[in-house]
């Protein structure tokens, strides 16, 4: 445990604060929704839960982007692909759960297959009626894609802008593919009209509260995992790669495999985030693959502050709340505000809003700060004694 916390030089108070707030949310939401009577103004409606759930899953996506962009300098414009694949894997499970309750009452085939006259379930749908199998796929499919794609890309030393562009091509190609009705993923409509998950009714607030708490837990866990990574020596190697790739190579580090591992790990997190997103939102369709989504995810990170994990998450929450609010309050002009936000942040706040914070400036040292913090000294002291 100590290692986990001391992992990052600076032991990061920001992270501590973030975890506390996350816990607070995970407690407050059930209370406000289940205990507070719906008559009260303080009651949190299912709509509110879904919103917060969405923010948190997006936060997780932002985390995965920040891990490779903020710490390893690899800008992936294809993370929406991992997110969506995770989402689709979960969606397939939820579709199979509908069973005979579909409008055509077909016990095996989802409705969209029935009215396209499909006779039998395509092979890649097998097994998705088992939750655990689906769960495995949620992580494995994105991981596999990241592995194959990354292996090719990094091995042939595709870097920087080129990498960004081909990741964009990747997610774009996947979007086109999933739009095809012949693919067996419901085409443009994707999956919707889910009934229940593990037997719990997806139309009850209770289920959504649980989903939200699970999401919060997953977010916390992946946050700690990411921090453990960037805090480890591997994390320092990764930052070294970001700053001087060839020099790191001359120190004898297999740069490519470091990048690959990180990319796969990050892809997995994105996939899990997608899987948590789908049941709370109630629909998954190909437009989730749209390159624009990947770009937005990157922007959340930039707004929050790349290179600080909790900053990325905060960015995701903030930007999406801004979207929710503006699309409601100023439907006609919200794009101006959003666009301006992106411009201003990138030009004037290269370190994001977190960069404004005293505590962040302290934590940031592990990436671009100025002086070793007491904690690290502590670590050394300890190991000295050992």
């Amino acid at each position: 445990m100590f290692r986990l916390w001391s992992g990052i030089p600076g032991g990061d108070r920001g992270g501590a604060w973030f975890l506390t707030l996350l816990a607070a949310t995970a407690i407050a939401v059930p209370v406000l929704n289940l205990l507070v009577p719906s008559s009260s103004a303080w009651h949190l409606s299912g709509y509110g839960i879904a919103l917060i759930g969405k923010y948190l899953s997006y936060g997780m996506l932002a985390l995965s982007v920040d891990l490779i962009w903020g710490y390893c300098g690899i800008l992936s414009l294809g993370h929406a692909a991992f997110f969506s694949l995770g989402g689709y894997a979960m969606g397939m499970y939820l579709m199979r759960q509908i069973g005979p309750r579909g409008v055509y009452g077909n016990p095996i085939l989802p409705d969209f297959m029935v009215f396209l006259n499909w006779k039998s379930l395509p092979w890649f749908w097998y097994g998705f009626n088992h939750f655990l199998y689906a769960l495995a796929m949620v992580a494995l499919v994105p991981a596999l894609l990241a592995l194959v794609f990354g292996w090719f890309a990094f091995r042939s030393r595709v870097t920087g802008v080129y990498f960004s562009i081909i990741t964009q091509a990747l997610t774009y190609a996947l979007m086109l593919a999933f739009f095809r009705n012949n693919m067996g993923f419901g085409g443009n409509n994707g999956f919707t009209d889910f009934k229940d998950i593990l037997g719990f009714d997806l139309h009850s607030d209770g289920t959504h509260v649980v989903l939200l708490v699970v999401t919060a837990a997953a977010l916390a866990a992946s946050y700690l995992a990411c921090r453990a990574v960037v805090g480890s020596r591997a994390g320092r190697v990764i930052r070294a790669i970001r700053d001087a790739e060839s020099r790191t190579r001359f120190l004898g580090y297999p740069v490519e495999s470091f990048k690959l591992w990180l990319f796969v790990f990050s892809g997995m997190i994105a996939g899990i985030a997608g899987a948590l997103y789908v049941p709370q939102i109630g629909i998954i369709n190909p437009s989730e693959f749209a390159p624009i989504n990947s770009i937005e995810a990157v922007i959340w990170v930039a707004v929050g502050g790349r290179g600080t994990l909790y900053g990325a998450i905060a960015g995701a929450v903030l930007v999406n709340y801004a979207k929710t609010y503006l699309t409601g309050a100023f439907p006609e002009v919200w794009l101006y505000a959003l666009g301006a936000l992106f411009v201003l942040v990138t030009v004037f706040l290269p370190r994001g809003i977190i960069g404004l914070m005293p505590l962040a400036r302290k934590d940031n040292r592990q990436t671009d700060g100025d002086e070793c913090s007491d904690d690290q000294a502590a670590v050394h002291a300890r190991t000295d004694g050992a």
Binding site: R239, W261, D370
Partner: protein
Amino acid sequence: MNVRNKRLYLEDLTVSFDGFKALNNLTLYVEPGELLCVIGPNGAGKTTMMDVITGKTRPDSGTAWFGDDYNLLEMSEAEIVAAGIGRKFQKPAVFEQLTVFENLELAWTGSRSFLKTLRARITAAQQERIDEVLDMTGLSGQRGSLAGILSHGQKQWLEIGMLLMQNPELLLVDEPVAGMTPHEIEHTVELLLSLEGEHSIVVVEHDMSFVRSIARRVTVLHEGQVIAEGNMDKVQNDSRVIEVYLGV
């Protein structure tokens, strides 16, 4: 090849960049534990030689062996490092975003694989070694500062320090004192001399006074070839050297 237990064998190396021969049948040996200075005018092929040794550049012909059992021409950069050849670049290349301590830590010999480094922790031995090197390079005071804010000289030392962390049998040091104050140069000299014996060291340098102050043996390169070898005085009196290099 017959065993003559030298540290480094470079034989008949030829490297040409579109026509221009950077190395031209260069042959050069380094004894175990010796401190060899390589001098020569710009374009003599000093850096190219370093590149060949560290696997950055592949020669058109010739052989390069490290000890009697490593054929450098068949090894990747990483493998060469692992085999025990460390290099200090002409321009100091340290990780400016990492602290001095972390720079040294990353240079530590040990498993380079992702999973290992993921679990790796600073052992007492490493701690000692790092402190030791910090002392040698006189950077103990800056152990916690980002390498980016060090002075030019300090960066040079840090980089030498990183070499020492790798504890290589062969150090390649490229212009260590470029842009150093006399006082810093003095310190660097001590540093290098203190390393002599346990490591073989190849120093490439322009600064004559510096070379004289450290060199036991000097090799003069010109147009990719060795034109003179021996101690400083011998070399300085060599007519060809005078003509091509010192130009007096």
